[in-house]
């Protein structure tokens, strides 16, 4: 399923598609005509190629925000859980403040502060993926910390940084990874929402969110322009979520 979605990146390389922003075809061609699988939009862009390029944005943002959250949040959480004390209290309090914001509201505020661009959207979404990962990493580290092999490493005089990287990290990574895939799905939804509001990828460039937003203006006459990107968005999130569920099931079965 994931492979099917990664086609977004490979497909344009091996098979020439019309430019997603050129606007060089006749506008409003209905879907399933020769040359334009999904037809064209109001300004004469090929919808199929816009879907592919828009999918790139969704996947880049989804994985980007989740990976950033996993690395930064995981490191913060692991350190907080491992060292405890003042560091733990400070980190967790600050993250709690971020968690008090509804995710979308925080993302809207940060994205409007930074201005519309794909990279900024990733930063904005990371503002809440980081705290979630940190909380999970800390909880898992607290369990790992009490294991005998950590005590043994400490008694042998291994430095804390080395213990964290070599012994703690491998043990807390699997639960973080499975949570990470759910984070990807969530980030894709938020990206679409931001683009929908005009705070994501700036309009001439396609993203599923701003395609839906543009299509919404002609909802009564041309519902296809909303339905196609919506269906792709739904399918992408569904695929990522199902993979996450399967991973989690396997992980808990062990």
């Amino acid at each position: 399923m994931i492979l099917l979605i990664l086609a977004c990146f490979v497909w344009p390389l091996i098979y020439p598609v019309p430019s997603p922003i050129a606007g060089d075809s006749a506008p409003n061609i209905p879907p399933l005509t020769a040359g334009h699988l999904f037809g064209t939009d109001q300004t004469g862009n090929d919808v199929f190629s816009r879907i592919l390029y828009g999918g790139r944005v969704s996947l880049e943002v989804g994985f980007g925000a989740a990976i950033l959250g996993l690395v930064v949040g995981g490191a913060l959480g692991a350190m907080a859980g491992y060292f405890g004390g003042l560091l733990e209290a400070t980190v967790m309090r600050v993250l709690e403040i971020f968690l008090a914001f509804p995710s979308l509201v925080l993302a809207i505020v940060v994205a409007s502060y930074l201005g519309p661009s794909e990279m900024h959207v990733i930063w904005a979404i990371s503002f809440f993926t980081v705290p979630y990962f940190a909380r999970l990493a800390r909880a898992n580290t607290l369990q790992v910390r009490e294991q005998t092999y950590i005590r043994a490493a400490q008694l042998m005089g291994v430095r804390d940084s080395r213990t964290l990287v070599r012994h703690v990290a491998p043990n807390i990574l699997p639960p973080l990874m499975t949570f990470g895939l759910l984070g990807v799905g969530f980030s894709i939804i938020i990206e679409a929402a931001l683009s929908f509001l005009g705070l994501g990828v700036p309009p001439p460039h396609p993203s599923w969110g701003n395609m839906i937003s543009q299509g919404q203006q002609n909802l009564t006459t041309q519902p296809v322009l909303v339905i196609i990107p919506s269906a792709f968005l739904f399918a992408a999130v569904l695929a990522v979520n199902l993979t996450g569920d399967a991973l989690r099931y396997r992980w808990s079965a062990q």
Binding site: R93, V94, E96, I97, F98, L99, A100, F101, P102, S103, L104, V105, I108, V109, V110, S112, Y113, G185, I189, A192, A193, F196, L197, G198, L199, I212, Q216, L219, T220, P223, V226, I227, S230, L233, F234, V237, L238, N241, L242, D245
Partner: protein, 328 residues
Amino acid sequence: MLTRIMNSAIAQAVVRRLGQVVVVMLGVTFMTFALMNLLPGGAAIALAGPNATQERINQIRLELHLNEPFLVRYWHWLSRAATGNLGNSLSSGQPVSHALASRIPVTVELVILALAVALLLCVPIAILGASRPNGIVDRFATYLSVAGLAMPNFVFGLVLILIFAVRLHWLPALGFVPLSHGIWRNLRTMILPVAALALPLFATFLRVLRADLIDQMYGQDYIVTARSKGLSRRRILTVHALRNSLFSLITLVGLNLGVLMGGTVLIEEIFGVPGVGQAMITAISLQDVTTAEAVVVIIALAVVVTSLLTDLTYAFLDPRVRYGSDSR
């Protein structure tokens, strides 16, 4: 009796929790203020318009105290906000609190209705599903919740508009009739937004409640006891297991309030519901900093307070917590 309650663990827990809430709220207001006020260019240029002279910009900066240090401005804003004065809107010049006062009840109605719909639907379906794990109802419920979780609520909202307003003409797509114009007319405009908002909640609740019910039914000692007393499966499920599963449901409601509040922002924007979320989007697009920060703080405050309330409800309902024993 009263002193015993006052000295009990729960009283201490409440005090500690309140302390945390205050710290979190200070952090929330500070961060909102910082994000909104460190904008490059900033309010003065936005307010003065594109053709303003440098003198005009300087004058506005003076009026808004923008030349003072950031922390001083934060302190002024916070102490005024504590008395309910959220400043004047930069776009309309009206006091922000007036503009928002009429919007808050609308958002509250939307959120409560969505929550009620999600809860009323998920409990019976989860019970039916759990009574026959992997039966038809259960499988259908699982598909439904997986699909519901993957469907962004604004997309679902558009789909609803497409079906019920554009194709069938059953319900209005846009517009809002206030409650004062009659309950039925108000509800008619609320059906679609509420449905769109309730779907992801319903999916989350259904998924967790089903898993929890099945967990209770097949692993707990008290279920075995109830079975050996000769109670029917249905009675055990709806009375004994559900009672325990409701606790996780309450926690879940608390955890999802943030998602719900975030969702209203988009739903209000799509359906033209004049709530606080719509005010926030408008304010951000107009660079109306005072209104935007007020809305963000109000939403965050609502989330923090309601999650405090769910914690307290939880503590009150669970006798182990209520009597302060550490048996958990």
